[in-house]
């Protein structure tokens, strides 16, 4: 075999994971926002943990094809744990508490992953929704621990690493959330460009064939679901730590549903969808709520409908560029020229 070709292919594979120019631009903009928008740090903090939460959903939805309407189960667990660890002084240092909360959410993710292995999208929607409702009701039923419907009051968060005390302007909070987001993004990026990440896309694309080349489909799904639950738990813990509060709405259905909305706005399966979606969603929410506080839901609903209607072409632009869009248009106007031969049916 030609060694030159081997080198070329290896190079090509290596460049799959190379940082694109737009990626540098995105993170530079995020860094710049810290210095240039000091009086917007509170909303930027919210954007940062929402982005991490959406990244978590993208890992299972965009890469493994698992749709969920109950991702708040892991977010909420992480949130309550971080608040409880701080309130009772079990683990005072926020970073350590953050990791612990994420790990506990991962355990819950592992335990419930077996429920999403089988079944259609509809089954998965219902099962995940059910898990989140159960978690919410558990939190509601143990007010001695969680504070019940009043939420968990009196949480005091210690300085990060013993050095940086959270302030009311959100300066430290935003820096903290942004750094955590960036580190976990780097990890997620590594994972999706690994053989494991590639096999997830295979499992999503065609589970029958994936199993037929020796991929243990269930093991891969359990792994990514657990991993994503860890991310969601961290995101929830960030919310609790930056607000020094946890309440039942961390488990709410709206939170899971909004998260799907964030991903639909940003697009799935390229890691930045959740991040961009979070920015647009929060800014839109903030902007519209200032304009017409009572009609916020109306506008977000309208935007959702518009996005879904134009969604197909937007996705085409992203994945295949203009060429794919052009092909689609040509095909629409010349349906007779469909080049695909139809194989005989699976009759024998």
């Amino acid at each position: 075999m030609p060694p030159a070709l081997v080198g070329k292919v290896a190079h090509r594979l290596a460049t799959r994971a190379r940082w694109r120019l737009l990626e540098y631009a995105f993170w530079l903009a995020a860094l710049a926002s810290f210095f240039l928008l000091p009086n917007r740090h509170l909303i930027l903090t919210e954007i940062a943990w929402l982005a991490l939460f959406a990244l978590s959903l993208d890992l299972i939805l965009g890469y493994a094809g698992i749709i969920s309407l109950g991702h708040a189960a892991f977010f909420g667990l992480g949130s309550y744990l971080a608040a409880l660890l701080a309130k009772h002084g079990i683990v005072n240092e926020p970073v350590l508490a953050l990791v612990l909360s994420g790990l506990c959410a991962a355990v819950l993710g592992f335990a419930t992953s077996f429920l999403v292995l089988r079944g259609s999208d509809l089954t998965r929607l219902m099962v995940t929704l059910g898990v989140a409702l159960i978690m919410r009701e558990i939190a509601n039923q143990i007010p001695d621990i969680t504070g019940g419907a009043d939420g968990l009051q009196g949480v005091v968060i210690a300085p990060i690493l013993g050095l940086f005390q959270f302030d009311i302007f959100g300066h430290v909070a935003y820096a903290y959330c942004l750094i955590v987001l960036f580190i976990l993004f780097l990890l997620a990026r590594r994972v999706v460009y690994s053989p494991f990440g590639l096999s997830l896309r295979a499992v999503k694309g065609n589970p029958l064939r994936a199993a037929s080349i020796g991929i243990s489909v269930n093991a891969r799904l359990v792994t990514i679901y657990t991993f994503a639950a860890f991310y969601a738990g961290i995101a929830g813990a960030l919310l609790a730590q930056t607000t020094a509060f946890a309440s039942l709405d961390v488990f709410s259905f709206e939170r899971s549903a909004d998260l799907l909305l964030v991903l639909i706005i940003g697009g799935t399966g390229y890691l930045y969808g959740g991040l961009i979606g979070a920015v647009i969603f929060k800014l839109m929410q903030d902007w519209i709520a200032n304009l017409t506080p009572q009609y916020w839901q109306f506008w977000i609903g309208l935007v959702l409908v518009l996005i879904v209607l134009i969604g197909r072409d937007r996705i085409a632009l992203r994945t295949g560029g203009v060429r794919l869009l052009a092909e689609r248009i040509t095909r629409r106007f010349a349906p007779a020229a469909a080049p695909v031969a139809v194989p005989p049916g699976e009759g024998s």
Binding site: M1, P2, L5, V6, V9, A10, R12, L13, A14, R16, A17, R190, V191, Y193, S194, P195, F196, G197, L198, S199, R201, A202, G205, N206, L208, R209, A210, A211, S212, I213, G214, I215, S216, V217, A219, R220, T223, T319, G320, P339, V340, A341, V342, P343, P344, E346, G347, S348
Partner: protein, 250 residues
């Protein structure tokens, strides 16, 4: 020659219908074994049972003497049993390069690694290039699989099974839907398989069957009808009746 793949009284019922009814099949090591029969005879169901896509209602499957009847599909692949599908089952959003690389990584046990980047293992890359070259896919290896012409997709379908480096290969109508002038390319790659690889072929085209097989089993209504060397099967009046009857119906 030792028997590599064996079924013992294999049965599969769908509701009240017996799609496979008591099939006992022995396939010898290195055989070029063809499984033929009219439409609806249960050929694909047999393949699905052998590979673990379906679970049999009764009976056993032995691979190299070991009972694999209840083994998961992916574990059978790891034991050297690979297949192709009658209707292409590919990863439409991946490139042929990624697709083949996936199968090779999986075979070498590095498919679950999350800390390395794809392509960082030079052995995997060398093998990808070799297989893509062998199946005439080098020029399209960076294209999205879903955009490839059907003939190329068909080649990838077979390349993917070969990348699993099977000891037993099940080919479900490999030339199905491929135009006449592209068939030879696919058949040549099948003919060029190493002699110690055992091949079970399902095929409707009798020219392909008789040029390829050294043993033929005929399946009718889910049961094994005739089993023997090609010359013997060709002479069998019952086989002629089945095929003539079918062609008259059609």
């Amino acid at each position: 020659m030792p028997v590599v793949l064996e079924t013992v009284a294999l049965e599969k019922h769908f509701g009240g219908i017996a799609a496979v009814a008591g099939v006992s099949l022995s396939i010898e090591k290195g055989a070029r074994h063809a499984l033929i029969g009219p439409n609806g005879a249960g050929k694909t169901t047999v393949i699905n049972l052998l590979t673990g896509v379906l679970r049999p209602t009764a009976g056993r499957i032995l691979l190299e003497g070991e009972d694999i009847t209840s083994l998961d599909a992916y574990k059978r692949v790891q034991r050297g049993l690979a297949r192709t599908f009658q209707i292409n089952q590919l990863f439409l959003d991946l490139t042929p390069l990624e697709t083949v690389g996936l199968a090779i990584s999986e075979r070498l046990g590095s498919g679950a690694q999350w800390w390395r980047l794809v392509g960082s293992n030079p052995h995997v890359v060398e093998e990808i290039v070799e297989i893509l070259g062998r199946f005439h896919l080098t020029d399209v290896m960076h294209e999205r699989t879903g955009n490839l012409p059907y003939g190329k997709q068909r080649l990838l379908e077979i390349a993917l099974a070969i990348a699993c480096r099977p000891r037993v290969l099940l080919l479900d109508e490999p030339a199905a839907g491929v135009p006449e002038d592209e068939r030879h390319e696919i058949l040549a790659t099948v003919a060029a398989l190493p002699a110690d690889v055992t091949v079970l072929l399902i095929e409707h085209d009798m020219d392909i069957v008789f040029s390829f097989a050294d043993r033929i089993s005929v399946l009718v209504n889910g049961a094994l009808f005739v089993d023997g060397p090609p010359a013997e099967v060709a002479r069998d009046p019952r086989v002629k009746a089945v095929y003539l009857g079918e062609s008259l119906d059609a």
